[in-house]
Symmetry: C2
Subunit: 123 residues, 2 copies
């Protein structure tokens, strides 16, 4: 069972809350906000934030804020860029767009903002 292994690999205690949280994040293809998640979890929000924060420092989870001023969390399976549409506010994972290079910097995450394909088409 991969969720349990993910936690053990980082030498973290395998708790019900952690399994539940990673289960939800990995079952969705899209980044989720706390609002998206809160009704699906049984843990307290303090536990949610403490675990998210631990997952982030262990590079298991990545987060960024979208146009709606909400923070979105996702499992960091492999680094990929995100596109946030200023038109429809949709978030897309650009799994085929390679992370760009920038001299002297190490780029670990990229967020593009603008108009997505369908908003451009129907503009």
């Amino acid at each position: 069972m991969q969720i349990k292994n993910m936690i053990e690999e980082k030498n973290l205690k395998v708790t019900t809350a952690r399994k539940e949280l990673l289960e939800i994040l990995s079952s969705e293809k899209k980044p989720l906000s706390f609002e998206d998640i809160k009704d699906k979890i049984s843990m307290d929000k303090a536990t949610f934030y403490r675990n998210i924060s631990k997952f982030e420092s262990e590079s298991m989870v990545n987060s960024f804020e979208s146009n709606d001023k909400k923070r979105y969390y996702e499992i960091q399976e492999f680094p990929h860029a995100h596109f946030i549409c200023n038109g429809c506010s949709n978030i897309e994972c650009l799994e085929n767009a390679p992370l760009p290079k920038l001299d002297g910097y190490t780029i670990m995450d990229v967020i593009y903002k603008g108009m997505c394909k369908s908003c451009n088409a129907t503009q």
Copy 2:
């Protein structure tokens, strides 16, 4: 006086609060958070947010959230990428890095996250 003109160009009323806010944003080279600004302004925070929101919809101001979970605002003179360092949390305006292209999308803003030059050097 360019601040007054900036406001008039968008057919907005030239108020003390708007002039003050744009004055502060344009006097800094870096994006500023509400916390950075709040002690420098005399307007109420409701007025601050209402004006920021109006400026954003008129494309006079751009905003994004940083690693510290605070939103940063800046005058949008010309579009440019930002680099947020996961090490030192510093925000850099990459004025010479052109916005990348992405087929079918219109990219209006880019945020890179990772390690900046000096954090890479001293690591």
